[in-house]
Amino acid sequence: MQNDQLALAQTRGSVDPRVKRPLPAWVSTTALLLPTYGWLTLAVFLPLLTMLGFSFMSATPMGKTPVEFTLKQYRAFIDQPYLLRIGFNSLMMGFWTTLFCAILGFLAAVALVRATVGKAREALLVLILLPFWTNGLVRVFSWTMVLRENGFLDNILHMVAPDAGSISILYTRYAVVLGLVHGYLPYMILTCYIALVTIDDAIIEAAASLGARWWTILYKILIPMAAPGLISGAVLIFIPVIGSFMEPRILGGRVGVTMGTVIEDQFTQAFNWPLGASLSFTLLAVVLAIFATFSGVLRGRTAG
């Protein structure tokens, strides 16, 4: 349709003797798209393709060992069944982190949209983005100081109740989820905020004037209309979280073993790039399968 119009404009143009013959439409389209796709090819597609190639090799192609084509790396989940448990734990970690981010992020975004007095909204936005300015590693390490035995939390508790035991949750799954929620919450707040800010106040006023209580407004108007934000936030958070390795390593201690740490070990310690690559692609396939399963549901929600 658009192309037809362009073609029409072109023919009209060529009739006019004063105007130079313009380039065909596809040339300008290609020229405009080339930098983006060129960059994507160079920075995303080629490295991914190399990794895909690695995942079919028998050894890292950097030593003297001869490299052969093999599918054995993809059998890792069958040969090493304990990986299934790690994979399941990683998915659960992603699920809980995303859920807490969704609840907290949505509420924060509502507060942000409601804050219309003076410069309150700008100030709140800056406060939300502030943690992003510090390095992620620093944020995670500061959590260890808060959560450890005789750490910040323990000291405060002992000020009130000197005989109480330790409430340290460092080196548990709770600590890992806490650190991850802290790290990824801003994504959810921002995506929800963008969705919520487009809702016309008049709709809410109309609902209220027709007698809707706050929970009816929340479930019938705010959540359905913010669904695109919630979904894109969930996607943005879930995928990096199940591959995360820094937070589980530092906050998880003994229980901090995830697909992310297993893959990282293959690249940094074991020097087994093919296995690391095949595990990454298996994980990618699982994530795609999950999103494919739920895409129908999700599409229904966004349309509604």
């Binding site: 304990y82 990986l83 734990n89 035995e149 005789n150 003994r254 901090g256 073993v257 310690q269 087994n272």
Partner: protein, 358 residues
């Protein structure tokens, strides 16, 4: 990874010194005895400016350096640049590989008088010598074994890691090779080639109720130990000295009866070295007590292979107390691992970690 960190720490300690001093070295005098080229990690003992000055004054040989940043890079440089290097610093495990590829020449120990007091077990280590011919002068060594909080009962065996007295009070090194080695020692097997990996896996799994955390950097170890999170840990000998000396932590390094997991760096002469005589003189200087005492006390160094040099340290020196040469008798030295064995070791440790996390 363990070795890399160890070197990095040394690097940090010496970087300032080396950087400041290298300028004063620029107008190098060229003597008749010529010069030698040393291949080493940067900031790892051989390139100390004060030492090079003393050595050049003594022998008239000037020393230039080339550096590598990984052990595989070192081997590549030896293979591709024949005739470029006179002396190379290499780990015992890599030495065996270099000898197998004919990259090194035999050492004429008569020209290294200080080697007379170098420990026999180190000199005869199969990684350094082949059919009774030595291919490297052992230089410095260190251990990975147990560290215990002062005042707690000293473990006599690695089996203490699984002892109920230390419930929730143990930290393990997140390193596959080290842990499989310790599992092998727990089950009475050869650390470098355990035949019964299932037993190793079981031994490591039995530690689970005690394991509080897995540490991967010395800094992390220090912070967690200072916060009283564990009492017993797999740790490095050099790390324990630094923790006690620099961070004043109440830690004691213990080598149980099964012996420590050890590493040794040696000084080898490439087969194509243009000045092997000069290289031998420099190797002799690097294990000289005069050089070692200054290096260890001013900069900080691993244990010297030369017992005379180690004994020249002040009696209250922590490093001297920890690196008791008696430990060399029971110590197993990490050898080069074939790829399939390395992969098997990594899989064992992944499986154990997954079990810990359940």
């Amino acid at each position: 990874m363990a070795e890399f960190s160890r070197r990095n720490t040394l690097k940090l300690m010496t970087a300032t010194l080396a950087a400041g001093a290298s300028f004063s070295l620029l107008p190098r005098k060229v003597f008749a005895s010529g010069q030698i080229t040393v291949l080493n990690w940067q900031g790892y003992g051989t390139d100390e400016a004060w030492s090079l000055k003393q050595f050049t004054e003594k022998t008239g040989i000037s020393v230039v350096h080339d550096y590598y940043s990984s052990e595989s890079e070192m081997l590549t440089k030896l293979r591709t640049n024949p005739g470029a290097y006179d002396l190379v610093v290499l780990n015992a495990a890599r030495c065996a590989q270099a000898v197998a590829e004919d990259l090194l020449q035999p050492i004429d120990f008569s020209k290294v008088p200080n080697a007379a007091t170098v420990d026999e077990t180190l000199r005869n280590n199969p990684n350094f010598s082949n059919d009774g011919v030595g291919f490297a002068v052992p230089w410095v060594w260190g251990m990975t074994s147990l560290a215990i909080r002062e005042g707690k009962p000293k473990p006599e065996s690695y089996k203490a890691l699984a002892d109920a007295t230390y419930k929730g009070r143990v930290a393990m090194d997140d390193d596959a090779i080290i842990n499989v080695g310790i599992g092998a020692l727990m089950t009475g097997q050869d650390m470098n080639d355990p035949q019964d990996l299932a037993a190793v896996t079981e031994a490591l799994k039995s530690i689970k109720p005690n394991v509080k955390l897995l540490w991967s950097t010395e800094d992390q170890w220090n912070k967690s130990f200072a916060a009283d999170e564990f009492d017993l840990s797999v740790f490095w000998s050099g790390g324990s000295v630094r923790s006690k000396r620099n961070s004043k932590l109440p830690v004691e390094f213990v080598v149980p009866k099964e012996g420590a997991v050890g590493w040794v760096d040696g000084l080898g002469i490439p087969a194509t070295a243009p000045n092997p005589e000069g290289a031998l003189a420099f190797a002799n200087w690097l294990i000289d007590p005069a050089f070692y005492v200054e290096w260890a006390t001013k900069v900080g160094a691993p244990a010297s292979s030369n017992s005379a040099a180690l004994n020249s340290l002040p009696a209250d020196d922590l490093s001297r107390q920890v690196h008791n040469p008696d430990y060399l008798k029971t110590m197993s030295i990490m050898s080069a691992l074939p790829d399939d064995r390395r992969e098997a070791f990594n899989n064992v440790w992944q499986e154990v970690k997954a079990f810990y996390a359940e």
